[in-house]
């Protein structure tokens, strides 16, 4: 058993010949009241025990993925002259946010099978189990979802956004939009050669509401009745306040 393990380790060693050393400009994103997006700078170097292999150029892929959530994708169709939601696909898990930055055009950095294995590209990141039993053409629904989220800046593929110097140092800036949800944002860095992944580095960025945002959110979940009454009280008070203020203005 131990011998087998040793052999496996020896076999694994060439894969580990190049390793990522990573830095993040911030490993935490605080959503405060005036939050309007954030820029994450990812920088790093490649650690080697051996000289730089000269066969195929090194490429880098950086991905940041928001929390996975189940969603429903609807398709409208014409029924009796009006457009209504007819079919729905329940997607079991799709990231709320997904950004990919690469050091070269997509086809040059990774091949199909490696993409499938590591679920890197945007369509691969969306898991739709049992899609075929729900609708006739699930791919149309997935495409629709990707199209909508790309338009909202939630799904991004930025080819060439990773700067790679001397096959050793790299950096990338990933923009996170204002409409972020809370959670752990899984951050992955892939090193590839000839379309094959040679090294992976994983970490996470913590996206959290802070201050009054945090307090209000917690209150609405933990004490919903208090929260509701507080909302009403604010509404009544504001209504009375405006009325009183206007009476003062008119009489004064």
């Amino acid at each position: 058993m131990r011998g087998l393990l040793l052999i496996l380790m020896l076999l694994a060693t060439p894969l580990r010949a190049e390793e990522v050393v990573l830095g993040l400009s911030q490993d935490q994103v605080s959503i405060s009241t005036n939050f309007d997006g954030s820029e994450i700078i990812i920088y790093g170097g490649i650690k080697r025990e051996t000289p730089i292999p000269q066969d195929e150029p090194l490429q880098v892929i950086v991905t940041i993925a928001g929390p996975q959530e189940p969603i429903t994708v609807w398709r409208k169709d014409r029924v009796l002259g009006i457009w209504v939601n007819t079919d729905a696909l329940e997607v079991s898990a799709a990231p709320s946010f997904y950004a990919i930055a690469t050091s070269a055009p997509w086809d040059e950095v990774i091949n199909e099978s490696e993409d499938l294995r590591h679920t890197i590209s945007i369509p691969r990141a969306i898991r739709s189990i049992g899609a075929w039993s729900q609708v006739a053409k699930p791919q149309d629904f997935i495409d629709g979802l990707v199209r909508i989220r790309k338009k909202n800046g939630l799904y991004v593929l930025d080819e060439g956004a990773v700067n790679l110097r001397e096959s050793t140092l790299f950096n990338a800036a990933i923009h996170m939009p204002a409409n972020l949800t809370e959670g752990e944002y899984a951050t992955r860095v892939f090193l590839t050669r000839g379309g094959r992944v040679v090294s992976i580095y994983e970490t996470s960025i913590d996206v959290r509401k802070v201050g009054i945002e945090r307090w209000l959110f917690n209150l609405s979940r933990e004490q919903p009745l208090v929260y509701g009454l507080l909302s009403l009280a604010i509404a009544i008070f504001a209504g009375w306040g405006a009325s009183a203020a206007f009476r003062l203005i008119r009489s004064g």
Binding site: I31, S32, T33, N34, F35, D36, G37, E69, P70, I71, T72, V73, W74, R75, K76, D77, R78, G81, I82, W83, V84, N85, E90, V91, D140, F141, G144, L145, R147, I148, R149, A178, N179, L180, T181, K209, I212, E213, R214, L216, F217, S220, R221, P224, L225, Y227, G228, L229, L230, S231, L232, I234, A235, I236, A238, G239, W240, A242, S243, R247
Partner: protein, 304 residues
């Protein structure tokens, strides 16, 4: 200035929300409508999730209606007695409406039903009110005396009650029925129901237009307050930050609206409301008839 909304989880421009709140507030003060039928689609448009928009809108309507009612109370244009009778009917109707809503939800297509409800009711009410007020304006122009309200079958019903402010002596049955019907529709359509209540009070109950606005607002406060609590405790979709931004604009707008409303003639007020109702109806109808640019839409799992 961008502000992040904690429940809606989107970042929006604060001035835009203040402006929207103010605009809808003016309409609320002028016509006695909550403005939900206008505001909710506008909030969808700027990217607020529908569930949050509907719930938060109810909270904002409480504020603008309360502000409007205070202004009307000072001018003694609220029929508290009529308002209470309508409200009793309204709460019964709202409870029935929620039951109907949940039943339809279990069958799917509740989304479509809500939209069709909007189109049909806004269309019918808008058209009727438009024609009626146009006739009224023409009559005053030609100098003919406005017709006195006629006695009809409504005056033959039992349980009569005197509504001094409205100058009516009628049975409580028609206002309660009106309240129930409006309550049902309000619960299904997710609005205060002012745009149905106002014409119902004018044309079915024969109340004077000036009293109708204040009385409608009075009733709306309670219905939307109830709705807010219901949404906050069951769906957690009331966004307080969004509500505050909307209602700051809203309460100021409502005060301005009341002043404008007091200067306009009743027929002019009605024809303006009619035009607005028809415009919203037209927009919703077009959305249903024209092929949308994006056939797909994304919703949370299980929701519509």
């Amino acid at each position: 200035m961008q502000i992040y909304l904690p429940i809606a989880e989107v970042s929006v421009n604060a001035y835009l929300l203040l402006g929207l709140g103010g605009m809808v507030g003016v309409l609320s003060g002028m016509f006695g409508v909550g403005g939900g039928f206008l505001m909710t689609p506008l909030l969808f448009f700027i990217g607020i999730p529908p569930a949050v928009a509907v719930a938060t809108e109810a909270n904002q309507i409480v504020a603008s209606s309360f502000s409007g009612v205070l202004a009307h109370l000072r001018r003694k244009t609220v029929d508290l007695r009529m308002g209470t009778v309508l409200l009793i009917g309204g709460l019964i109707g709202a409870a029935l409406g929620v039951a109907v809503f949940n039943y339809l939800k279990s069958m799917g297509q509740v989304d479509l039903l809500v939209k069709l409800c909007y189109v049909v009711f806004l269309g019918v009410i808008g058209a009727l009110m438009f024609i009626e007020s146009l006739n009224a304006i023409r009559k005053t122009r030609s100098g003919a005396k406005p017709k006195r309200r006629k006695h009809n079958w409504i005056h033959g019903l039992p349980f009569k009650m005197r509504f001094r402010t409205s100058g009516l002596y009628i049975s409580v049955i028609p206002p309660v029925i009106v309240g129930v019907l409006v309550g049902i529709l309000a619960a299904i359509m997710g609005v205060g129901g002012g745009f149905i209540m106002v014409p119902a009070m004018i044309y079915l109950l024969g109340m004077p237009t000036k009293v109708v606005v204040g009385t409608s607002l009075f009733q709306i406060i309670f219905v939307t307050g109830f709705t807010t609590l219901l949404h906050a405790t069951t769906n957690y979709t009331v966004d307080m930050v969004l509500a505050v931004l909307l209602l700051i604009g809203g309460v100021i707008g409502a005060q301005i609206g009341t002043v404008i409303g007091a200067r306009l003639k009743a027929e002019q007020l009605r024809i303006l409301l009619a035009i607005m109702v028809l415009a919203v109806c037209g927009k919703l109808a077009l959305d249903l008839l024209i092929q949308p640019a994006e056939l797909f839409s994304v919703g949370t799992a299980g929701g519509h």
